[in-house]
Amino acid sequence: MKDQDKRMLIARRVARELRDGYYVNLGIGLPTLVSNLVPPGIEVVLQSENGMLGVGPYPYEGEEDADLINAGKETVSEIPGCCYFNSADSFAMIRGGHIDMAVMGAMEVDERGNIANWMVPGKLIKGMGGAMDLVAGARCLYVAMEHTTHDGGPKILKQCRLPLTGLAAVNFIVTEMGFMRLTPQGILLEEIAPGLSFEQVQAATEATLLRSPHLREMPA
């Protein structure tokens, strides 16, 4: 499967989790794709941690505004009913448990729901931005990522090796191979991508997966 197809498959599955009235924070990159896939008939308000509720799609050419960007510093637009606030208020709503759902990418996730996505010692320092606050404060955290690294190495581990972004924070993992729920017993595989076996998903995963008694095919 091509990278872009994987990413769209993951984003479409995450989008099925959206419910009417949700306030949602979408991370930079793959999670942003979810914004174009909101199911018809429901109203969802997107939060951007740089101080906006009601983020709209990218603007039409000629309507870009340097004063109107998302947390990825991309130009965006307003939807009717949007509002602006300062960064302290923005993170008060995040830490205070007012965000129904946050979606972010990760470098590593482990069996305890720990997540690492902000630095690789000696190689890459980007900074954590708002990720540590989001994983600590969002009511429900979805990790949306490719199942393995570019070299085919596992990203879903027994224990994270990289410096952590947050402890026991992840509720769901969505990859091109399946849909997983974090439980006190470990990672429960609830849905599996068409054409894959449980054993194939397990082989691409370092953590020991639990097989849901209701394991079903992941809807596209």
Partner: protein, 235 residues
Amino acid sequence: MNKLVRGADDAVADIANGAVLMIGGFGLSGNPENLLQALHKKGVTNLTVISNNAGIESEGIGVLLAAGQIRKMISTYVGENKIFEQRTREGTLETELVPQGTFAERIRAGGAGIPAFFTPAGVGTPIAQGKETRDFDGRPYLLEHWLRADFALIKAYRADRWGNLTYRKTARNFNPIMATAARVTIAEAEEVVEPGGLDPECIVTPGIYVQRLIQGAAYRKPIERRTIRKREPGQ
């Protein structure tokens, strides 16, 4: 009362080497462009800059960084600026990385007279090293301290002569909280009006927080990532 000073050079005249500065903006959006240019021209060095990130290499705070005027950055993110990233990795720039919500709250606390607070962000991560952790209702939280500065450099949209400020869209970001947390807050605005010229219900920063004000000029407002969608016929 008139907080309006003649121009950006006058406004930053008493910012000395070694000063601790808060600079508003999220990347290049909401940067005090005129004040940053004046600071660059003045050539002050050894600065500690508290700002979310450092713009790009050739714009915003990146210009001060490239010119070697900054000794230390307190930020949440070094990406998008290769010089910032490289010098942080090499250790030739002292960089304190702070989770963005903790960063914002430390500034808010600094302005509100709250010396420290507990937050869940960063528990169990490298950020927690050396910090007190305490449980509340069975969950661990980290003790974090306020941030305060000698000067805050702020970008507003409209201002009145008394320093009441409004902002525009997401260019608001850290500007209103930084305005509260410095000994001297210097604001620049795209438009300055007489007292009474702003709707009191819409003022975001009350003038009490602002000591100096300039009428900004020649705003360039660079866009970091121009993302657009195609116009369908008829739209």
